[in-house]
């Protein structure tokens, strides 16, 4: 089992929560379980944005942002 932190930076929600997952859980499946479609979001883990197929590691801290752009 691994422990990761998820911090949400979404319009209506805040907060950092710990999650306990099986080893080799893919980012995409993890987010989907929580109801987030990976392509709608940017998941930044330790400074880099990671894609759906990224395998989560123990201690990863995910910052989840809506995939918006600026003007």
């Amino acid at each position: 089992m691994i422990t990761i932190q998820l911090e949400l930076f979404l319009g209506g929600k805040h907060g950092e929560v710990s999650h306990y997952l099986q080893e080799n859980t893919a980012l995409g499946s993890f987010l989907k379980e929580l109801g987030y479609e990976a392509s709608d979001y940017l998941a930044i883990i330790n400074g880099s944005n990671r894609l759906e197929d990224y395998l989560l590691k123990d201690g990863d801290k995910i910052k989840l942002f809506p995939a918006i752009s600026g003007g």
Partner: protein, 571 residues
Amino acid sequence: MEKVIRVNVKNNSINVEESPKEWNLLGGRALTSTIIAKEVSPTCDPLGPNNKLVIAPGVLAGTTVSCVNRISIGGKAPLTGTIKESNAGGTTAYKLARLGIKALILEGLPCDRKKRILYISDEKIELISADDLEDMGVYDTASHLKSRFGNKIGTIIIGQAGERMYLASGIANSDKDGVPSRYCGRGGLGAVMGSKGIKAIVIDDSKGKTPNIADEGLFKKTRDEITKTIINNENTANSYTKYGTAGLVNLANSLGALPTRNFSTGNFEGADNINGQKLYDLITTRKGEGNPSHACMPGCLVRCSNIFPDSDGKTIVAPLEYETIGLMGSNCGIGDLDIIGKLNYMCNDIGLDTIDMGAAIGVAMEGGIIAFGDGEGAIRLLDEVKKDTYLGKILGNGAAICGKVLGVTHVPVCKGQAMAAYEPRAIKGLGVTYATSTMGADHTAGQTIRAAVEHRKPDGQVEASRNAQISNTIHDYIGTCFFVGGAIKGNMGLLTDLITSMTGKSCSLEDLKKTAINTLLTEKEFNTKAGFNEGDDLLPEFFYLEENPASKTVFDVTAEEMNKIFQFDSL
């Protein structure tokens, strides 16, 4: 829309022509670039008699479907020397479309130095003497025009910057409250309008009407579907509405992509003081005229714009957007939204592009004119620009010129135009866009932040930029705001159905892509004839040699790969 208005400022003639058939399915950027490529010599002087300024609503303009009323202004850009399309929201596309105007073309150079207003209504189009508006700021100009012509007019205005032909001058469009703050900011097109002696364009659409819709049933059905997707999407119903584009500060900062102290790094220690949450908190606690969710275009449901008030509730500026928070905030080491808001207002009033001005001030700070973080100093610099002092002239001509004069070598520009608020070493796809776009360094020409690539790696960035350049060009010509793209995502059928129902001619996603690709190739050809080659499709050297400490990366997408960007054959 069937009318093309040609205004020749040399002999003050105004001609109303019927739009040629081959332009039927074009609008916005596709139309401006088609006209410029056809009628303007690529080697002309952008401030001379042979350049033209083309103003064209997008294909969908004139209806009140959310997010479809953007305007394009095109020409040969004085700042970059390339072809240029500069895009904005507001009400001017809507109003021109309601008057049946497909394109407005300003030609020639005046024989005198007088200022004029171009007045357009259903009944007449005329040039009116406007010497009383000479050297007037944009906001006062808008007030004067509303007093004279009524509160419901649309306005397209240049400030002192455009009149003086500063290269960082933009063109201000009115929003739905008549506030002149929706900027066609990039490339110095304000100077082109200034060279032609036109201070303002007034659009009175009180006798206008909604454009003809060929299939009302399909149109209504599609409009309702779009409305539903917008209000059900997390981003467009929530993030954008509440935080606006400022919501991007945290994201960019977390990616190490928030330009800080003249693009020396991508992480700003003051980010929490200038992010979306801070802006939202200030607006909602100060109240008064403030509003965190404001629409710039008629019918917009997203309402990403805002009105930012001071502690007495009086408006500092509307809107305060991410790009300005980046370039005039973190890029200048300034972590105070009140200062950034004031700088934004001053730029809007003088008639300047906040991106190039923020970059210019950052360069000036690097050059030791004032210190990084000196907000009051930045305000004094903009005061110099307003007063047209020698330092003011240097700054008002943008970051590239500023760097050359002050001997600063770290200047974040491509083809002379300043980069937007995304550090290219941390979001490499945007680095590719900055380098290869026909527009110069331009984020709206090919925004890759949503692409399924790891932004710090060079892999897949050319493809991401290519796809983004195509999809952004689609939005630029059909007149949609990018943010609707976020809501409808893959379901572009909603936009093609809207076009099909308006024009009566079947429109597919392939058609949209084809027009976008043709537009890009037309622009590329113009630039080649203007003298640009592969050597101009690069980032400034320091991005390749020096690491962004926040992302720990240099820009390493090869020139060889980037030169393939316009190979569209596989599509």
